[in-house]
Structures are given as C-alpha cells and as structure tokens.
Symmetry: C2
C-alpha cells in the first residue's frame, strides 16, 4: 500500500506540522504513529487534541515538539473568556502546565513553552486579541527559525560530503523531527540539492524503529536512495566499504562535545572509528548544554520493558524476563569527527571549540561558515 | 502466560529433540516457532512432518538440524516395502534427497544425511529390519556425540569465566540449537554448575529475534539470570562495565580462525576489543572448514527483505524500500580472544593453532584439555 500523503515526492517544509488560518485557526500534523503505511494528517482544533498527539508520539523529534507545544498553547487560549491580558496570562500559565504533562522528558517542549510565556508577559500591555495574535506569530517564528537552522545545518554539513557518498544514519533526525528537512538528514537533502547524489543506509533503530518507519519513509518520499538494515548490520556494511560517513542527530551535547543521542549511536561511533569512517553529529546550537561538563552529567532515560519485549501486540520474549532499555547513550567527543551546527562546524570538538561555536555569530542569517 | 513445557526448571538434555520407541517409533521436538509463549512438542511420525518442521524452523541450530535430519531419514524408511537391503538403500537415497530440499543452507543437515547413507551402504549385508535398527542407532549415536561435545565445550569454556561474571551472548547457541546444553551457552551452564553464578545479557538478535525468543527463554527455564537488550545497546552495556566476556557460537570457522556467525557478531567483536572485554567463540570442531583459507572464502547468505521490513504481520518499513539482510558476518581471527572447542581452547587463534586443534585428540572422550 503506497503512502497517501498529499504532495508526494519531496516532503514540503511545512508537512510535519502546520498552522492553518489566523489565531482562531488550527494545527495539522502528520500522524507519525501510522507511518509508513499511511500518511494522514491529524487536525488539532483544541489543546487537548494536541496534548494527545504529543503523548502518543503522533509528533516527535525535539524541534518539532517545541513547535507543536507552542501551537498547542495558541489553541489553548482560543476560547479563553479572559477580558484582560492579565487574565489571559493566567490562562496561558494554566495551559502551559497542562502541556508540560504530555511528555516530561522532551526538553524543547519546555523551552518553547517558557518562550511563549515570556513573550506573553513582555506583551501584557496588548489587548487580549492582539496578544493572542502575537503568540501565534511567536509560534510561527519558532517554526521559521527552525527552518532556517535546518537549512544552515544542511549547507554546512553538505560541504563535508562528496559526490556519490553513502551516509549511514540512525533514528530519525529528518523532516519528520523538525519544521524543515531535519538536522542529520538536512545534510543529505542539501548534498542532493547540490547534485552530489548521496544515498543513505538507515539503521532501523530498535526498539521503536524510527529508522525503518520514519527515516526510510521520508527519504523514499524525497526520492533519495535508501537501504534499510538492522542495527546489528552496521559493522558488516562498514566492513564492506558501503559507508562513506555516519551522520546522526543529537538530543543534548555537553560543553566538551560529548553527545547524547538515540541508543545505538555510541556503538556506531566506535565502529566508525574502527573502519576509519568519519562520524558527524548534526544538531542545532539549542541542543548544546553548556552547563553539562561532559557526558556523565547527562542523565540517560530508562524506558519500559514492553518496548523491547513486545512487538505490534506480539510478545517476543519470555514473560517477566528482565529487560534493560536505555533510550539514549553518550558518544564521547573523541569519537566525533565533527559537530555540524547552524553556526558552523566544529572539527575534532573539544571544550574550547564548543564554547567558541556556542558564542559565535549565527551563520544561518548570513550564510558565512565558522569552520574550526 | 508461563511456558508450559513438561519438566520446567533446567532444560533436560533431550528436550529439544528426542526419539520415542524403537525403529518403528517417532520423533518429538519442541516447536521453536511458538516459543517463548508456548512450549509445545511436535510429534513427527512421518518424514513429511519432519521436513515441514525443519522448513518452518520449528527446529533450528546446526547440531540439532543434523540430528533432526537423521531421525527424519529413519522415519522415511519406516514404511518401506523394500524386501532387500539393496531396495532399502534405494529408498534411503530417495528420502535423503527429499530431506535435503528442506533447508538448502544448513550444512549439518547434509553432513548428517551423508553419514546415514554411508552407514547404510557399509551395512548393506544386514537384513532389512536390522539395517533399519542400525540406522536408528546411528541417529541416536549422533545425538549422543553431540551431547558429549556440548559438555566438553562447556567444561573447557567454563575455565575462562570467573565467579560472578556476566556474559554477553548473541543469537541462540544453547540447548535449543543442540542435543544438549549448547555451545556458547554450554560455557554458561557449566560455569553455573561449578557454582560460579554467571549471568547473561542476551542480545535480541534482529531480524529473527533468536536471542529474545530462544536464549532468554531457555536461560530463564534454567534459572540463570538473564537480561534482554536490543542489539544496539551492546556498546552501552560494555561502556557501563556490565559485561565481563562475550561468548558466541559459530556457523563456520575458516582455517585461520576467521569465524562466520549470526549477523551482528562481528560488530560485537569490535566493541569488545574497544572496551577490552574478552571475546570467545564456542563451537564444535565440525564447524571448522579447513578448506577455507580465511573468512573471505565463506559465502554470506543473503535473506529476504520481509524479515527486516515486516514483523508478525505488521509492515514496519515503507513498501518496496530496499533492504540489505545478510544472515551472517565474518569476525576476523584477530578480534577473537579464544576459540573454545570440545578438543580444547585456541587462544589468539591462528592458522597453526587451528590446524593443531583440528588434528588433535578429542578431549571430550578423556577430559584432557589442549590449551594452546
């Protein structure tokens, strides 16, 4: 059964999540739980529907979650009876708290909601209607910023790839995780826009199969050659010299360059070093955690046994067998060839280069690249 | 739902496959396709039923397949109308060819059938009834040999483990793959018999999940502590110093020590080297292929896309996405700390040590160990 997304072929920048209409409008988002077999949009007309969409992973990926939360907040004050902006601010705080209960571990969700609340406070002098409009504008601005960041990451990263390269990636750091064409996959999309004909090997990414379900799907939609493998085949395909570079996203990057990303990333970094394949992390500066001295300061979320022990309603392991299911791992900076951001590229990242990149100018605005 | 095997607790040596009665009897085997949720025996009264059981992987694992094929041949001549041993020999050759069509890649299956045919030829002077009895005896002898080999591998390997060690294993090289308690898992079982309290981390082993379905199940049945992980978590658990040794089986070992085993094994060997964890291969001498100069001479079976793209009737990848699905990989001898066999242990295996071990006396007979 073929995907049924409107506008097949290249994924449009606004496909993953989009706002329709003015501040009284609604949000639409691809229901990622139904991919790859069906590509259908969910219409979110209420904050409750957006809460549910986030909760059940209809939308996921750190940047996309921030935008979803911001739009959810706009939905949450659509029917506010507040007659003053002070009253609306109270509603905003209530709805913010509600949205924060949707997925407690998604950092961008909290960050986006904080930003929305700050904007509301800063604009409390506005009449209620204007303030609601201002907040929708902020949500749309976040989406626009994320687009620009994706494009800049893609541009900076594509310079590292060569014509005909094959990129191995893990999980989904693509269009479905952002407002535009992703972080890790932005590098691939951009290289192909430049005519470099870069193909992809996608690790399926157990336990939740984001590589199989999402990355393979969006690349196929974009007509970029993609081959799916099980995660444990990565070493073999590297040995067979099928991989020219590994490019992955990041959930959090410590101030020394140690990188938290989907479980399995660290192993890939070791295999890449072993086979002398460059290993790139592509992520926005917003994932830099300059408070974290190194990877040890990043907590690793442990998830439930069912993700590993069950599959599509089938039990694939003995009842009550112990399962260890860390959702992330830490790739030490020493295993990373370069970190690709919207502000430039840090080769052989260390504390000094991270600080310099973090403090540096945003090349996504002016297209200059700070190569270090 | 708890497993319902008769004789819960330690898996009995004859549980995986057993013969009931005389040469007019039948075979019984655990239906491994229904594990781990149900442990039920299939009764094979005809060669056709055994063929089917092999074909659909109700029984798998190289040593177990050899025994199943031999027993299948005994079933195939049960109702022979041959009145002379020459006539019976013709029937045997016909049934042998039929069984060979069940799983074309299982080397032990061919080896066992060749051996049965040779025994039949060597004993063609016997009356028909006695020859049929002789062939059953040969099948039972193979089973007995395999038991002795498993025990010797276990004994030789257990010496390499320490009290409280945690062993990471991949796929299933245990009781369900052999006539006794396995090859890689024999080492674990034996160490525990010696009171060493060795626990196991089982990689689930995508795509067919033998680690989750079979290894986790048989270890739990045997009350050996086991924790299930996704294959891509191996690097993380090694980094966390949860693994004291990796022990895996083998499908074929080249004359220089390069080892073919389930896809994912090679990656584990690289990760083990990186984390300075010893990496052991446990396998019978019958897996040595002294004709193969090195791993490059071992063909890698490519399997169908459905194993990766579908699960339990669910499609988990976009329709028609390319899939690369090698069933095995090659671990270079240089990554292997030691190869454990029934004849002894080859540490830092190379061509000379492999030849010496291959030609050496069988310590499973007299319990002496050729440590090299």
């Amino acid at each position: 059964m073929a995907p049924v997304c409107p506008g097949q072929g290249a994924l449009m920048p606004s496909d993953t999540i989009r706002w329709v209409g003015d501040e009284n409008g609604h949000a639409e988002l691809i229901d990622q739980t139904r991919l790859p077999l069906e590509c259908e949009y969910i219409t979110c007309r209420t904050i409750e529907r957006m809460w549910e969409a986030i909760r059940v992973l209809s939308i996921r990926g750190a940047p996309a979650l921030g935008i979803a939360a911001a739009m959810g907040l706009v939905l949450g004050i659509k029917d506010s009876r507040a007659e003053t902006s002070a009253g609306l601010l109270e509603d905003i705080q209530k709805q913010k708290q509600y949205l924060e209960t949707s997925r407690p571990t998604a950092v961008n969700l909290f960050w986006a909601l904080e930003r929305m609340e700050r904007v509301a406070r800063e604009n409390r002098h506005l009449p209620v209607a204007a303030l609601r409009r201002r907040l929708l504008d902020e949500a749309l601005a976040m989406q626009e910023e994320d687009r620009r960041i994706c494009r800049a990451i893609g541009k900076n990263g594509a310079e590292l790839l060569h014509h005909g390269d094959c990129v191995l990636t893990h999980c989904n750091a693509g269009a479905l995780a952002t407002a535009d064409y992703g972080t890790a996959l932005a590098v691939v999309y951009r290289a192909n826009e430049e005519g470099k004909r870069v193909s992809v090997i996608a690790g399926e990414t157990r336990p939740l199969l984001q590589g199989a379900r999402l990355t393979a799907w969006e690349l196929k939609e974009s007509a970029i050659p993609v081959t799916l493998i099980c995660d444990n085949m990565a070493a073999r395909v590297m040995h067979e010299k099928r991989v020219d570079a590994v490019v992955v996203g990041a959930d959090r990057i410590a101030s020394n360059g140690d990188t938290a990303n989907k479980i399995g990333t660290y192993g890939l970094s070791v295999l890449a070093m072993w086979h002398r394949v460059p290993f790139y992390v592509a992520a926005p500066i917003s994932t830099f955690d300059m408070q974290a001295a190194d990877g040890d300061a990043i907590p690793i979320e442990q998830r439930g046994r069912e993700e590993v022990a069950c599959w599509g309603g089938h039990t694939v392991a003995p009842p009550e067998v112990d399962v260890y299911n860390p959702a992330f791992d830490i790739t030490p900076a020493g295993n990373i060839t370069a970190i690709i951001t919207e502000k430039g590229v840090a080769s052989a990242p260390d504390r000094a280069k991270m600080a310099s990149l973090h403090a540096g100018p945003d090349s996504s605005q002016n297209n200059t690249k700070t190569s270090q």
